[in-house]
């Protein structure tokens, strides 16, 4: 096992201290204390919401609701280390509520995930200009839904956070970090066997 601190441990410690300061200022009622935290973590929460099959409007609303819940509960969040995981879990839970409500509104038997943004590779093939990216997308789209959610979300954070984020998404232990895990192994195998995907 690796006894050395992981690379980036200092950066992570600094980030944790910075988050702690922001949370403390927010808990003291300082407006704007969380602006930089919002800017840093919003892309992650957006991808969590979208990976749960929400459309643009619903995803934006879920992200807003999640931050409102955070400020409501800011006094109870003891460790800034746990903040990212807390936000990811809360976003997933809010997205689940919206999906449950949509199913109720649409009626039983309709798959609300049918229009999920990553279900169809078609539009992406047109948006992505680079052949290498299109190749990755094609193989990524073949992964099962659980793997697409995991890799899409984990890719938004740094390596030291992989395990925490996988936990927050309710993925089994060992899904990713410190080992590669099945999802990434599957994608890596698909990419390496495709001559159109080069490793540069």
């Amino acid at each position: 096992m690796n006894a050395e601190p992981a690379p980036g441990a200092d950066i992570r410690a600094q980030r944790t201290a910075r988050l702690a300061a922001c949370l403390a200022r927010a808990a003291d009622g300082e407006l704007g204390a969380l602006d930089e935290v919002v800017a840093e973590l919003n892309p992650l929460l957006w991808h969590v919401a979208r990976s749960q099959g929400l459309g643009d409007e619903d995803a934006a609303d879920v992200v807003q609701t999640t931050w409102l819940e955070l400020v409501r509960q800011v006094h109870t969040i003891r460790s800034p280390l746990a903040l990212t995981g807390w936000l990811v879990s809360a976003t997933k839970r809010e997205a689940w509520r919206v999906n449950a409500r949509r199913r109720k509104q649409i009626g039983p038997g309709v798959d609300v995930l049918a229009d999920s943004p990553d279900a169809a590779a078609g539009p992406a093939e047109q948006v992505l200009t680079n052949e290498r990216d299109r190749t990755l997308w094609r193989h990524f789209a073949q992964l099962n839904e659980r793997c697409r959610v995991l890799l899409r979300v984990v890719a938004q954070v740094g390596r030291p956070d992989y395990t925490e984020i996988a936990d927050a998404l309710d993925m089994p232990r060992g899904s990713i970090g410190p080992t590669r895990g099945r999802c990434l192994a599957k994608l890596r195998g698909l990419l390496l066997s495709d001559p159109a995907w080069s490793t540069e």
Binding site: D35, E69, R72, W137, G177, R180, L190, S193
Partner: protein, 169 residues
């Protein structure tokens, strides 16, 4: 296809693959450009003793032949309070009328908070008091972000305010 060991430690190629997964998603499905602004506005609250009201329904419909403007109907819910709002254009083209109902009905103070162009973080707010039947009206509302807050007595009714996520009116 080459067999890849899932139990091997993450290596540099894995990191490069994840970086590409991230880049592709950021390009294909980026967050809306105003998402940070919307969230920062939403959470710039004076008082954090709140209950968060979830958006339950948001529908837009044609108002019909007699009223040419479009109507938008929005419902927010918490366990203790439902807020129903309809938004119409008028009387002039550049302002909106926001009419709402609280259920259960109560003559509570209702705040509609909008970003302040002069840059005050708290934004600027319109206040009305709902009628006994729970109805309230804001007229002359400019289009843009707006957040509803229902103020109530914190001693008897739970948290002192019910806050919605901001709507883009």
């Amino acid at each position: 296809m080459s067999a890849i060991d899932p139990d091997a430690p993450l290596d540099e190629l894995d990191e490069r693959i994840l970086a590409q997964v991230r880049a592709v998603h950021d390009e294909f499905d980026p967050p809306p450009p105003d998402l940070n602004e919307r969230v920062c506005f939403a959470i710039s609250l004076e008082n954090l003793d709140i209950e968060v009201s979830r958006l339950y329904e948001d529908t837009r419909m044609a108002a019909g032949a007699r009223a040419p403007e479009k109507i938008r109907a929005v419902t927010f819910e918490t366990d203790s309070l439902t807020i129903m709002v309809t938004i119409t254009v008028g009387p002039s083209d550049d302002v909106l009328r926001v009419e709402g109902w609280l259920a259960p009905a109560a003559p509570l103070r209702v705040e509609l908070r909008m970003p302040d162009e002069a840059g005050d973080r708290r934004g600027r707010s319109l206040f009305v008091t709902a009628e006994d039947n729970g109805r309230f009206v804001f007229g002359g509302v400019p289009p843009g972000l707006a957040q509803l807050t229902i103020h109530r007595d914190p001693d008897t009714d739970g948290p002192g305010a019910v806050v919605t996520s901001p709507l883009m009116l």
